[in-house]
Amino acid sequence: MSDDVLLRATDIVKSFTSRGKKLGARSVATAVNGVSLEVRRGETLGIVGESGCGKSTLARCLVQLLPVTSGTVEFNGATLTGLSRRQMRPHRREMQLVFQDPYASLNPRRTVGDIVADPMRINKVGTEAEIGERVRELFATVGLDPASLRRYPHEFSGGQRQRIGIARSLSLNPSLVVADEPVSALDVSVQAQVLNLMADLQETFKLTYLFIAHDLGVVRHVSDRVGVMYLGEIVELGEAEVLYEKPLHPYTEALLSVVPELNDTDAPRRERILISGDVPDPSDRPTGCAFHPRCPVATAVCRTDKPAFVELRTGRFVACHHPRNLDA
């Protein structure tokens, strides 16, 4: 593993088994279906996709909060998959999560100071006094008043709570922060504050982000590289700028075309490509390319053959038989 890769996932599969509709039947839903990716040191890798595409499950598999069904995850040169809880401990400190719902992810019965201090207490880093000092420092870093650390989560607004969540995730000096929809519950003006804060922290602490969101604008704004997920698979991955300007996969192209835009310039609006229907049931995946039933350019081969995820141009990966925007 080269030095600049912090996390590497190879062919991750995660499936859930549930009772089927018929008597005695079992159905298997494949939430993540063979995802391979690398997260480089210091970058922000954005994962974007619609609800149910498996992006949150993927994140949980990557940080070993969920056991993978198959595949391997390497982190900092060590293989994480198959490690016991005890063996995972030192790695856990290195990767922290920021959750979507700032109302649900903080224990309402603990003071926010305790919430931020807990990871340090559990990992026994320093004395209680040192921890207290560090909590005050973290509060200042994320733009909260250190005087408020004896208060409870309900006394804070959504944006402030998300800052607390961020402070907690930073308390052990992680190298990787996995943020799962960290701003989707916030109003735009507050969302902007949190995004700017995350950008500042990345610079100050040399953090690596895996940033998961459904909002294409947010993902473009924060990411160096972006992976687009559809039905448990990454269908396209590449540098944010190029991917947004010249999407290769028809799904990416359609997705980008339908984001409501502020027409505040005279530039013509992207032509909208409406894709019909809904995302299929992950327990009943289409044959061939998972996107073919909704794809505007699908042909016979798409129904039968699953396209390989290949590097079509330097640093640009796509899984499609008929990639778009290639000539340009």
Binding site: E50, V188, A192, G217, H221, V259, P260, L262, T265, R272
Partner: protein, 332 residues
Amino acid sequence: MLSVRDLRVSFATRQGALRAVDGLSFDVGSKEVLGIVGESGSGKSVAMYSMLGLVRDSNVTISGSVKFEGREILGLSDREMQSVRGGDIGMIFQDPMTALTPVYTVGWQIVEQIRAHTDMTKQQARERAIGLLGEVGIPDPKSRVDHYPHEFSGGMRQRVVIAMALSCNPKLLIADEPTTALDVTTQAQILDLMLKMQESYGSSIVIITHDMGVIAEMAHRVVVMYAGRPAEIGPEVDVVRYPRHPYTWGLLGAVPRVDSKNRRLVTIPGTSVSPLDVPEGCAFGPRCEHRMEICDERPVLHGPGDHLDACWLSDAQRLAIRSARSVAGGAS
């Protein structure tokens, strides 16, 4: 079509009066799409619900005037209001997952509304329900009409809600965050459908949203609300391209874009003012970078032509601020 004048909604709470809507006035023309945009707590939904008598709280006080087709509807009796709701005014809600009663089929629920407002027979109403479901793009409406809400996806449920809202040929559709709970591809389908339906039914639409992008795609005119008060009102193009109120500047600058390069987002310092504690002067004053002494007085909506705003800045000051900002930030 709809004319709202000085609408005020306040709730008596233990901490004092909570002024959710404080002096809102706007008009909706025939076949017009009006967007009301604001962040949570701006009073945009409460304003619409209170107009229609959907705020059922014994502590609420509503004043002002709401005229629908020239007829005052504020203060109508429950019974009179019932014939307006669902008849001339249809509503679409934010969360299609919870907006339908879970224990009845979608057909039953549409038929129920049709029969409440017309004297169609059950069979006729059912035929109409099937027709409507087909119109809003539900495949195989003949069999889907007998399905329960949980058997539909989110996007399909929102189509059912739209079919229901249209079932009595309303003259006005009020859509409260109709796509917020939906994915972007589904959102595009639903917005598309709403515009199509508006064309074929000729109804006016009031769309309430927090997403400036949705406004830009849908609305002819926009009301920007902050803390229960209108901050800016004007044609969509003017508000998006030449916003006049500092709050609108912040709101537009804070949106990460899909169509332009990374830049630092404009942020509005602090958090939304509590509706229990709105300042006497400009409501946005405490968070405004360009606050002046006069801002302790409440600004009135004013402006050139039909583009109004509630801000004390002079045109010259605004021009100076905007040009300084575009040089510094490189933003639009």
